[in-house]
Symmetry: C2
Subunit: 132 residues, 2 copies
Amino acid sequence: MEKQHNLSKNQKIIFDLIDKSPEPLKAYSILFNVQKKGINAPLQVYRALDKLVEIGKIHKIESRNAFIACQNSSCQISKATAFSICESCEKVSEINNLKLSKYLSNFEDDSGMRYNKYNLEFFGLCKKCKSK
Amino acid sequence: MEKQHNLSKNQKIIFDLIDKSPEPLKAYSILFNVQKKGINAPLQVYRALDKLVEIGKIHKIESRNAFIACQNSSCQISKATAFSICESCEKVSEINNLKLSKYLSNFEDDSGMRYNKYNLEFFGLCKKCKSK
DNA sequence: CTTACAAATGTTATATTATTACATAATGTT
DNA sequence: AACATTATGTAATAATATAACATTTGTAAG
């Protein structure tokens, strides 16, 4: 049974914003958007983001310093993330591919080391941008 | 035949520093280290870093905002990078594994899309840290 | 219920990472 | 030499993220 995380007030405000967004959001853009709800300081945003990342409700797109809601309905694999990033329009999608995640989770490097966690970012042109 | 890039003065200073370093270096730590050589401003560092990344002599470790020299003697695959990162001692190594790079370069997502570029960061404990 | 602990909040200040804008110099090509 | 491209120098500022400290809220045990 998965642990239930009851989001706190700030966490909920910030998660809802990210979850509704069609694109990854940056911390200060989040801050700007939630100021009307009484969240005034960067730290309040970063603390909520840290927690949401920790419990797997959102992911950080490292190459963009931006945050996206987890797209895996059964969000077990927050430690094993893969994203598709369009270098033209910056559209980001989470890749949820069992073969890929199995391949990477089972990957052994040349020294025989295994990893419990990874983040993979693919770059290319999305369909729309490719056809332009 | 691979294009030869003659590094400029600043590029060479900064590449040499990164190449000699046993660990990834951060931009402002680089700046501090090269001030005695007449590089005074962040922008001079970032410009050199950008170029070095572009030509594949160094890579950026996105999750750490740090830079490491490319470890692939035949440095063809600067667009396809994989790293091992120790979450305890922060040691970073480039993974140069043909099966992995083939697998990822040939990966098709569920929409049939292919990617010409990726960055993969694995996290775990290195041997030293695991045995503590 | 109340005590105690952990988690979250609020606030100010500051650290770290990165870019804009503009002027000049060096290098490579024809 | 003329031109284009790449690199440099410098100042200012933008964008991203954390430290430190005080207070409040949520939760679980007695």
